[in-house]
Symmetry: C2
Subunit: 243 residues, 2 copies
DNA sequence: TGTGTTATATCTTATATAAGTTATATGTTA
DNA sequence: TAACATATAACTTATATAAGATATAACACA
């Protein structure tokens, strides 16, 4: 019997991963920042460079850190170019990617309904902000989004702040509230357009739409956003890959 | 100027990855087989164990190989337990996974239409097999699949072979034709049920369905299957994750 | 049944070299 | 001298090798 047989045993590199994640949670290094070099981290954590390297490798594979040879290792940010398409899976059928334009419809403070509350680890009725917006490709509205975030984590969020911000919503969350989205789960259904979305998306009432429900997580796998997107998929598709 | 500046430079571990993949393509190791130990491969390829390790690590991350501590490294197979859910993304809303039952509708030899032909790197009109089937959860039909595979790669495929086989279709392809699916891309739309699928799925003509188009690839990123699934998503969702 | 042996992957450290980036020093030229 | 180009140094991550300790699994054998 030795320490490694213990059920709580974790390899060193895994412990280092946790320590790095804790520094991310604590805000010691913020999105876009360079973290210390492998050698610095090795001496800080009293392990070898190779062990730090393995920890960073895994965090980079999860898109939490980004390695740049010669420059350093950086905290992934939604402000970076490559991040734009990371969480947007709707693309033209022909494959050419295109940026949608966003039209903000409303930002309101609400009581969390049971559905999003439980997915966000909140009590039903907890205070949330509800953001509604319309995304258009080539000027044609395609996606109607309803987004819920806990008010406690997004204090002071309002309409004007979003309107004045140029860039993605996740980039906005990051720079104004220090909350970086690193992972999301989506559940997709085909539904009929209701009256609200039919008008917004310029489609008939019985038009089939993609209903994409998402829960997004920040460091430490903490859920911080629920959203429902209703998508008109004419000439566009939801694209995904598996292996 | 040295060899590393050459545009065709590949790190050693990447060359080893290619060599291993070539052995997979050649059928030297088949799905389910153990490949030689890291030390054996190192001496075979005249590199260090660490380099082989890095190559295997990446192939394991791509779900092409599976490492089992103490046992060895194995070629991933669709006959394995864990593989069942790998390419099936439809699940109950509550999250509990359930196996569908499959009802084979037809297996016919056809000329490839333009769409699937180009995605499968075939000439339009090339000979393909067309498989149609109905997947049911809890006895209720939910997915109508139409599957195209090149006849040249699946010689002798027929109706009875599939019917006599218990297990997933990919497991069948693997054991009867030596073709292992390792990756797939899907494009999803919301569409109205047409007359054929309305009858098969017991839904109205205007019922919204998920249309899931897939191209699946085998070793060396060779496309070998096209399929279109029409899914009735009542109480079920297409589940995906991103990071 | 249990116990040791062997073979495997896993983890950790160490060392060396290669290659990309940036800042600084050193020229060279107008 | 000032502006610009080039070389050098110092830093980074990336690649490759080696070696030893540990965890897991299978098997032989008492």
């Amino acid at each position: 019997m030795n320490i490694h047989s213990s059920p709580s045993f974790r390899p060193l590199y895994d412990q280092i991963k946790i320590l790095i994640t804790q520094s991310l949670i604590a805000g010691e290094w913020r999105p876009g920042d360079a973290i210390p070099s492998e050698i610095d981290l090795a001496s800080r954590f009293k392990v070898s460079q190779g062990t730090v390297r393995k920890a960073i490798d895994e965090l980079a594979a999860e898109n939490i850190l980004i390695r740049r040879q010669g420059k350093g290792t950086f905290v992934a940010s939604h402000s970076q170019e490559r991040a734009s398409t990371r969480f947007l899976r709707i693309a033209r059928d022909e494959g050419v990617f295109e940026y949608p334009t966003s039209q903000l419809l409303s930002v309101t403070r609400e009581r969390a309904p049971e559905g999003s509350a439980s997915l966000l680890d909140l009590r039903t009725g907890a205070s949330i902000f509800c953001i509604k917006r319309l995304l258009s490709f080539e000027g044609i509205p395609r996606i109607f989004d309803e987004i819920h975030v806990p008010a406690v984590s997004f204090k002071g969020l309002d309409d004007a702040m979003i309107r004045n911000y140029t860039g993605s919503l996740y980039s906005f969350f990051e720079s104004h509230f220090g909350i970086a989205m690193i992972r999301a789960e989506e559940h997709i259904k085909a539904v009929k357009a209701g009256p609200v979305e039919a008008e917004l998306l310029h489609v008939n009432l019985d038009q089939p739409l993609l209903r994409v429900d998402r829960v997004a997580f920040t460091y430490g796998d903490r859920p911080v956003e629920w959203r429902r997107g209703l998508c008109h998929t004419e000439r566009f598709s939801y694209v995904t890959e598996m292996s």
